[in-house]
């Protein structure tokens, strides 16, 4: 499922405004939450919240005025929107899978399927790189450094890593 279309031009300006709006909203939440803290504990986050809200307004107004004058920030926010979505989805699914079935299988799957999902079809190379990486990580982390890895369903390896 190769994706080839690019993001709409001008999305950078909208993203600028959107992020500033989110920042202002977040700063208001910070101010409201911090107001409930006792004395000294409240002052520091309150000052930061107010400063962030002010700076967020500055960025938002600046971009809105630029758009009105026809000087909005050019270009698109993402280099390739659909691929970005694929990358983000892969990250979410990967962490979800690691938390459920452990590190090994999701890691091999990520190494093969992520490149494939953006059009890279040299399966053999992807597979070899993924396997070598996972084996190297297991050798370095589990055997050499004796560090924990997420509990794995693979038996008997799964029991060894628990």
């Amino acid at each position: 499922m190769e994706v080839s279309s690019a993001s709409e031009p001008g999305s950078r300006s909208l993203a600028e405004i959107g992020f500033a709006a989110v920042l202002i909203a977040g700063a208001i939440v910070v101010i409201v939450t911090a107001s409930a803290y006792p004395g000294e504990s409240a002052t520091y986050p309150l000052v930061i919240g107010v400063a962030l809200a002010g700076l967020g307004c500055w960025i938002l107004l600046r971009e809105v005025l630029r758009r009105r004058r026809g000087h909005a920030m050019a270009g698109s926010f993402a280099e390739h929107g659909p691929r970005l979505v694929i990358g983000l989805a892969a990250l979410v699914l990967y962490i979800l899978a690691v938390s459920q079935i452990g590190f090994i299988l999701p890691s091999v799957a990520l190494g093969v399927l992520l490149p494939a999902s953006v059009g890279f079809r040299r399966w053999g190379l992807s597979f070899v790189v993924a396997i070598v990486s996972v084996v190297a990580i297991l050798l370095i982390f589990v055997l050499a450094l004796e560090r924990p890895i997420p509990p794995d369903i693979l038996s008997p390896l799964g029991r060894l890593f628990r």
């Binding site: 006792p38 926010f77 962490i95 790189v129």
Partner: protein, 494 residues
């Protein structure tokens, strides 16, 4: 200082620490030569992997990666006309022209030796200049430390980006993240929202890794580069000895090293600025400046020497005062704190073996680079350039995931990594600098506690914050740095 250095020597040359430095240099060469990955990304991946290890083992890897990555960027710059790191952009100008003339191997040798000389002189500057700066900082009390923290935030927010409000927002986000967790003075829980994992605040390692390692991965997926470099370009054969031509290169090396060291020490500068300034200076004083940009080896020497010379120098204010001279230094500062090492006089007093050992590791890894970055090694490590970059994206993710998980043995940290990574990507796309976030997180708690202490000592008088000459100087410096962008704008419009 001499005693501390002598004590550190056996530690630095312990077999495991030598191994760490070798691994660091090789990893740095690989990271540096991969376009799209910077030394900062490499360090962000490395720091969680080294968590829990002996500090000098971890710091040796960091020093090696910094020096190795600095030269690694020159390999694709010379062979492919693609700078591996922003600091190797100036190397492209003459380096690639030399490749076109069939002098690729010679250009790589010039770049390597120049980088080594710059790095060695920079390491010596680090060893010589840090202790006096530390002695000066012994005059500091809570008020001065408060202003020092503010100065650090002001420099990084104002000078590391092109847009002051964005730098300040990034800094504010970092300060806010640093405020999450229990207030150490009275135990109040701030912004934990009932999550036990947040009682001690966000882990600096997870934050560093998310901010600097995840965005490049997402960018690699977006770019989806499906081909690697042709193997023919790595068939390198020696073309004369650069060492034998030392008289020819010496003036360029000395000038570029001085420029690199000065730029490295200055907060907010470094990297590409030092290599470009060194390149321009070499061109300005050259007998035939018109040959620059057409394959003049002096251009490659100046750029790479300036680039190497700002590496260790950028750590002088970072180690002595806690103010990093560059984005990379900010990340290394985070790496030190992760290992429980807080920069400043305390570090020099309580852990002289580690801090001087770290400085020596910079010197040793600079010299190691001469061997590990040679033509034979470039042929081996350069093979990674043949792999399509899209295949490398998941590999980075695997290392990052396992490194972050093993810090607290918690899946929660992986979700934090994802969230911070996405925020880091958005900030990067919108040209918000990431280094102020890290510095805000690291310096925020110190600034808050020193401010409270200063006000408690003075009985709540805010005027006490500007009651000493050092405090006034630091406050004025911070104000001047914050006003620099406005002054620049004014000058440009005049």
């Amino acid at each position: 200082m001499i005693d501390a250095l002598l004590h550190a020597v056996p530690l630095v040359f312990a077999p495991m620490n030598i191994l760490a430095m070798i691994i660091g240099v090789i990893a740095g060469l690989v990271v540096g030569c991969l376009p799209g990955l910077t030394v900062v990304t490499g360090l962000a991946v490395l720091i969680p992997l080294t968590f829990g290890l002996d500090p000098l083992f971890a710091l040796g890897m960091m020093a090696g990666m910094y020096n190795g990555g600095s030269y690694g960027g020159a390999i694709p710059a010379i062979l492919m006309r693609v700078p591996g790191t922003p600091a190797s952009v100036a190397t492209v100008l003459d380096g690639y022209k030399m490749t076109q003339k069939g002098q690729a191997a010679y250009a790589l040798q010039v770049a390597l030796l120049s980088g080594v000389i710059g790095s060695v002189l920079s390491s010596i500057a680090l060893i010589v200049l840090s202790p006096p700066l530390v002695s000066f900082s012994l005059l500091f009390g809570p008020i001065e430390y408060f202003w020092l923290g503010i100065l650090g935030l002001a420099t990084v927010s104002s000078l590391l980006g092109d847009d002051l409000p964005k730098g300040l927002i990034a800094c504010g986000i970092g300060l806010l993240i640093g405020a999450v967790g229990q207030d150490i003075s009275n135990g109040t829980e701030r912004f934990t929202f009932g999550q036990l994992e947040l009682l001690d605040g966000f882990s600096a390692i997870v934050l560093l890794t998310g901010l600097f390692a995840v965005p490049p991965v997402l960018q690699m997926v977006e770019e989806a580069v499906k081909t690697g470099m042709s193997g023919d370009k790595l068939k390198l054969h020696a073309q004369g000895s650069v060492l034998r031509q030392w008289r020819y290169f010496m003036p360029v090396w000395l000038r570029s090293s001085v420029i690199g060291i000065i730029i490295g020490i200055l907060p907010g500068a470094g990297g590409s600025m030092s290599s470009f300034l060194a390149y321009n200076e070499a061109k300005r004083v050259a007998r035939e400046p018109e040959t620059f940009g057409h394959g003049n080896p002096e251009g490659v020497a100046a750029s790479e020497c300036g680039n190497g010379a700002d590496n260790a120098a950028s750590l002088i204010p970072a180690l002595a005062l806690g103010i990093p001279g560059s984005g990379v230094a900010a990340v290394i500062l985070g790496g030190l704190l992760v290992h429980g090492l807080r920069p400043g006089p305390q570090l020099f007093r309580e852990h002289p073996d580690i801090v001087y050992g770290f400085m020596l590791q910079f010197l040793v890894t600079s010299l190691m680079l001469a061997v590990l970055g040679g033509l034979a090694a470039t042929r081996i490590f350069g093979q990674v350039l043949r792999l399509p970059r899209i295949v490398l994206a998941p590999v980075i993710l695997l290392f990052v995931t396992i490194g972050v998980y093993s810090v607290n043995n918690a899946v929660f940290d992986l979700w934090v990594l994802l969230g911070v990574g996405v925020i880091g990507y958005v900030l990067e796309r919108l040209d918000y600098p990431s280094a102020p976030i890290v510095l805000g997180l690291l310096l925020g708690p110190m600034i808050e506690s020193q401010l409270r202490l200063a006000l408690t000592i003075s009985g709540g008088r805010t005027a006490a914050l500007v009651s000493t000459p050092i405090a006034i100087t630091l406050a004025l410096l911070s104000a001047a740095i914050l006003l620099t962008p406005a002054w620049r704008k004014l000058r440009m419009s005049a």
